[in-house]
Amino acid sequence: MVKRLMFEKPLGMRDTLPFFYNQKSKARQQLSNAILSFGYSFMDTPIMEYHETVGKVSATLDQQLFKLLDQQGHTLVLRPDMTAPIARVAASQLKDAEFPLRLAYEGPVFRAQQTEGGKPAQFEQVGTELIGDHSSYGDAEVIALLVESLKQTGLDDFVITVGHIGYVKAFFTDLLGDDEDTIEYLLNYLYRKNYVGYREAVKELSVPKDKKDALLQLLTLKGGDEIFDSSRSLARNQACMQAVNELKQLYRLLQQYEVEKYIHFDLNLISHMDYYTGILFEGYAPNLGALLCNGGRYDTLLPSFQLSASATGFAVHLERLVEALNEQESDDGRIGVIVDDDSYGQGLQEAKRYREDGQAVLLQHVDQIPDLQAFKAELSETIDLTKGGGERDE
């Protein structure tokens, strides 16, 4: 065993220093305000859950779960996301509440350590769940709220890509029948973003040429609302038509919310192999190598907690949002009152007065400051009550 150096912390864990903490709180507050303004209620769940319940049904892969044992030997997990715990609550304590439920959360989630940098094992999510509304109005509300929340934080340059897993699956069924192995195989290529592999696999299939062409055309179904027409001509069965109609309806509603300029469509977007069941989306911002936020409709999670209901929601990766906002280190508005033995009482009074006005004031005895100049530079304003010190320095 290598002896740990005192400053080390477990792989993938990060400290949040004051500057970043402040930015995170600010962004979290702005997101929360937007979410609250849509009538959602915040709630929280424990950090630990049973592997058998929440662990098993969460969208996170088993090998990415942090597992530990309780005293009775049960396997526990650190919650890998908030959706599964909230589903558990909705299906138990809240099952008699009036549906649709509008719930929101903010808090840390955990994914097992990656050996590489830039992939934290603990990060914070802010998100919402709309449970018991299976309509396009529900889908539109969640996406519009996501856009509004991001705008609230000052972010304007971002894109939300919307897809429909029902379309992709119905499309494959239409062309390939019930050959589930092949469908799974092709879906897996799309999920892994491997278009080269997908094209090769399609070429190898023993189906007529027109079907192959249609399968290849699926890759081109992305862009604005103009793709609805081409997706309609490719899709022939009822389920495909319905999915396209849902997307069209969604787009109309998003236009009414006036958020359509942030929306792109991509009909081969597959965020997860078998979690989402309908409309799903991912959000991206510049200068960020990875996803900013994602979400979608999931209809099989609540039934696994014995509640038959459809739900949809989004989650924003808070640390990445702060990174995308890329704000400069700013003045945190703190006032410093610097005193000596004689002016201590006066300083206390002064500080109290400012605090009553709601300002952040620190009181510091001059003898304990190693470098007065540098100390003052850290504050937005200082009041020097020491003998010979300037009254006020700004």
Binding site: K193, V196, E200, Y284, N287, G289
Partner: protein, 211 residues
């Protein structure tokens, strides 16, 4: 003008072919760039920035978004399993991954050892064959391993087969064909879709023309 499109190009063997392909697609990159020691080159008139990376590292730059696009060997993609879009098979630098070893040497029955630069590719392959093997990771001159008894077999890239032959090794099985691929960062794929789609379609046109 929007921010330039950053392309991670592999240094060395693949570079020339890749640069030639880019040139035919209308992206004029300097021909002797590979020899210069500069690592980043700007082409403002085409709104492109090119960075030179070790072929094994191209995928890393692209996954983290340090580069929007990259050209990487399928061998590296298979080995590293990174979150990038694989959009186009450029069909350059063709070669394949194979299992090789000394002639007429059956695989040892007790814990056969495989020396390779590609631990994941090798263990995935032998697992599919139902063989439990042990991997010895090496970084170069893999052919040495069976010769001096370090391993029973090697898993490595073969392009002409000359190195194997000169060292008295034979190829046992071919694992998979390898060519270079055009890869794209998932965020750039959405945010710079116009420029990227344009490049992809120009490159595919060049490829179509060659068939």
């Amino acid at each position: 003008m929007s921010k330039p499109l950053t392309i991670a190009m592999p240094k060395g063997r693949i570079y020339e072919e890749a640069a030639e392909l880019m040139k035919r697609a209308g992206y004029e990159l300097e021909a002797d760039m590979d020899e210069s020691r500069k690592l980043i080159l700007e082409f403002p008139e085409q709104n492109i920035r090119v960075m030179m990376a070790k072929p094994m590292d191209v995928v890393t730059y692209v996954e983290y978004g340090a580069a929007d696009i990259g050209i990487a060997g399928k061998d590296v993609l298979l080995e590293q399993d990174r979150d990038v879009y694989e959009v186009l098979d450029l069909k350059i630098s063709p070669c394949y991954v194979a299992v090789a070893g000394l002639p007429d040497q059956p695989l040892s029955r007790i814990a056969p050892k495989i020396a390779t630069k590609y631990p994941k590719v090798a263990s995935d392959y032998f697992r599919e064959q139902g063989e439990q093997i042990e991997i010895i990771p090496l970084n170069g001159s893999i052919e040495l391993a069976p010769l001096i008894g370090l391993a029973d077999r090697i898993v490595d890239i073969v392009s002409t087969g000359r190195t194997l032959k000169e060292n008295g090794l034979v190829e046992y099985e071919k694992i998979t064909d390898i060519t270079s691929r055009l890869i794209v960062n998932p965020v750039s794929y959405r945010l710079k879709s116009t420029e990227i789609e344009e490049m992809v379609s120009k490159l595919s046109e060049v490829m179509e023309g060659e068939r």
